[in-house]
Every structure is written in structure tokens, then in C-alpha cells.
Symmetry: C2
């Protein structure tokens, strides 16, 4: 029950689940002869982000959230992915970055003030609040919306795909 324990496995399980969902989307596109670019550009409403951007932001919540808690400047990624393969690379790059962080630094960040860009403004939150009330809900929002877009496109995925490889015993 530490900060790093609430953050790092969550990002790892969630991003691996997202990667597996995108693999199912790719198989679906192939089977139905759909151009995968159509999926990447699908959005649920004209002024919502399309799938590709949802995946990029999910990655950025994991990358930026964990980096700021660890007291490290997060690397900036280009947001130039236009294919499912490039999105998979983005996810893999994010997972690899998150693994480089010092868990003990994250554990010590609960009471520290975290300042982070928020559009043209800046947000400031206590480390624990930042993780629990900003990073995790945002991370899950973009994960769930990626899932919802693909479900809306007819990709056959279920709640288990969203939850991913969680430590559960089913009997």
C-alpha cells in the first residue's frame, strides 16, 4: 500500500491491456477489410478526440504522472503516430520509461506539491491527490474511451480486455 504500488502496476497492467485491445482492433480490421486508419480516426462526437489521440493521452498520463511523482522531467513524445503499429510502439516506449523510475522516490511523494501544465494554466496538487484524483481517473478515462470507440466500431472486446492481467483468482 504505497504510492508506487498504486501507480506502477496500474500503468503496466492498463497499458498492456490497451496494447492487447489494439491487437484485437487490428485483427478485426483485417477480417472485415476495414482500413485501420478509419479506426484511428474514429471519435464519439465531432469535438472529442479520435482513438489515436486517446491512446497518446493514456500513455502521457502514465508517463507524466509517474515521472512527476518521481521528481523527474517527463520526456516529450511527438504525437505523430498514424498507424496501429506506431501506437503500439508508443505504448511500449511508455512502459519502458515507467520502468526506469525510482519507486522509492514515488513512495516519498505523497505530501509533496506537484505542479503540472493544465492547458494554458498550471495545476497544483499534493502528490497523493495528484495520483488518486487526477492521474488515475484521467488514465482510466482515456483507456475506457479508447475501448468505447473500438466497441462502437464493432471490435469484439469485453470487460476482461479492459481490466487486463489483474491479480485475480477465479473459481
Amino acid at each position: 500500500m504505497t504510492m508506487s504500488n498504486a501507480a506502477l502496476p496500474t500503468f503496466e497492467i492498463g497499458l498492456n491491456a490497451l496494447a492487447a485491445i489494439l491487437n484485437k482492433a487490428e485483427a478485426h480490421a483485417k477480417a472485415k477489410k476495414i482500413d485501420p486508419a478509419v479506426l484511428l480516426n474514429t471519435r464519439l462526437f465531432p469535438d472529442m478526440f479520435a482513438l489515436a489521440r486517446q491512446v497518446q493521452i493514456a500513455c502521457d498520463q502514465a508517463k507524466n504522472g509517474s515521472a512527476r511523482l518521481a521528481g523527474v522531467d517527463p520526456p516529450r513524445y511527438e504525437d505523430n503516430e498514424t498507424t496501429l503499429l506506431e501506437l503500439q510502439t508508443r505504448i511500449a516506449k511508455t512502459l519502458a520509461f515507467v520502468k526506469t523510475l525510482d519507486a522509492s522516490k514515488i513512495d516519498a511523494s505523497g505530501e509533496r506539491e506537484i505542479t503540472f501544465p493544465l492547458g494554458p494554466k498550471k495545476g497544483q496538487m499534493r502528490g497523493w491527490d495528484y495520483l488518486i484524483h487526477f492521474v488515475l481517473p484521467n488514465f482510466y478515462f482515456h483507456l475506457a474511451t479508447s475501448y468505447d470507440i473500438l466497441r462502437h466500431c464493432g471490435v469484439e472486446i469485453g470487460k476482461q480486455d479492459f481490466l487486463g492481467a489483474i491479480p485475480i483468482k477465479i473459481t
Copy 2:
């Protein structure tokens, strides 16, 4: 940084945000002369749950998750809501129930095995894993999907509505 601190404020902020989002949906329906029942019955794909069920399940994740961690049998709700007002009552009832729970019992549940129904089967997880890798992702999934359905219907809500009254200072 306790279990109850990861659970209780999250449910309170999230459910209050959901209630406010449903209020905006009601105002939207009134302004556009849409029968609110249409919103409640909207789903993103034929075999996904409609809005009303998404709201019920978001409530149940908060109710059942926090009750099981506190070692209390969760009350069963009827799932018979058919109006926005009834869904608001469901949310209020859930918030009131969550407030009755003993936070110290939840704090002591990190290592305890939690057994919970999972369709026709049973799931078993350590308390901490149950909260972080099952209850919270499911809670946010149904919150985000409720939001996505309403955005898809044209209701004018934004990320701030989804996050709700989080402890943030914006400068």
C-alpha cells in the same frame, strides 16, 4: 495514503461528478426537447449496456467495493430506475451508504482475501489488489462510459465535469 483514503473520497468525488453530469443531461434534454428516456436507453453498441445500467453499475462498484473492504454485506439495490430523477436517487443512496462505513476497517483490509461474485463464478483478490485493480478501474470505466454516451448524444460536458470537485489549485 491509506486504503480508505484511496477509496472513499474517490467514490464521493466521482459519484457527485456523475450526478452533476446527469443534471446537465437533463437540462440538455429539456433545451433540445428530447425525451430523457432516450438518453437513458442510449448505448454505444447494441450489446453494450445503456446509460441507465452504466450509472447503476458505477454506483454498485462504489457500494460493493467499499462494503466488501469494510467487511460488511453490501445492500442490494433493485436496478429498476427508469428516470433521471431515479438515477439521482440511486447515486444519493449510494453516497449515503458509503458514508456509513468504518474507514478503519477498510484501512485494515489490504492483505485480507476478498471474495466477490463474478457473473456465475467467484473472484478472489487481496484487498489492496481488489481496490486498485478491480474496483477503481471498473468504477472509472462505468463513469467514463456514462460520460461517453452523453457526449455521443451531444450533451455539452468536458473533462472537468468528469473529474469533478478534485482538490486542485489552478493558477
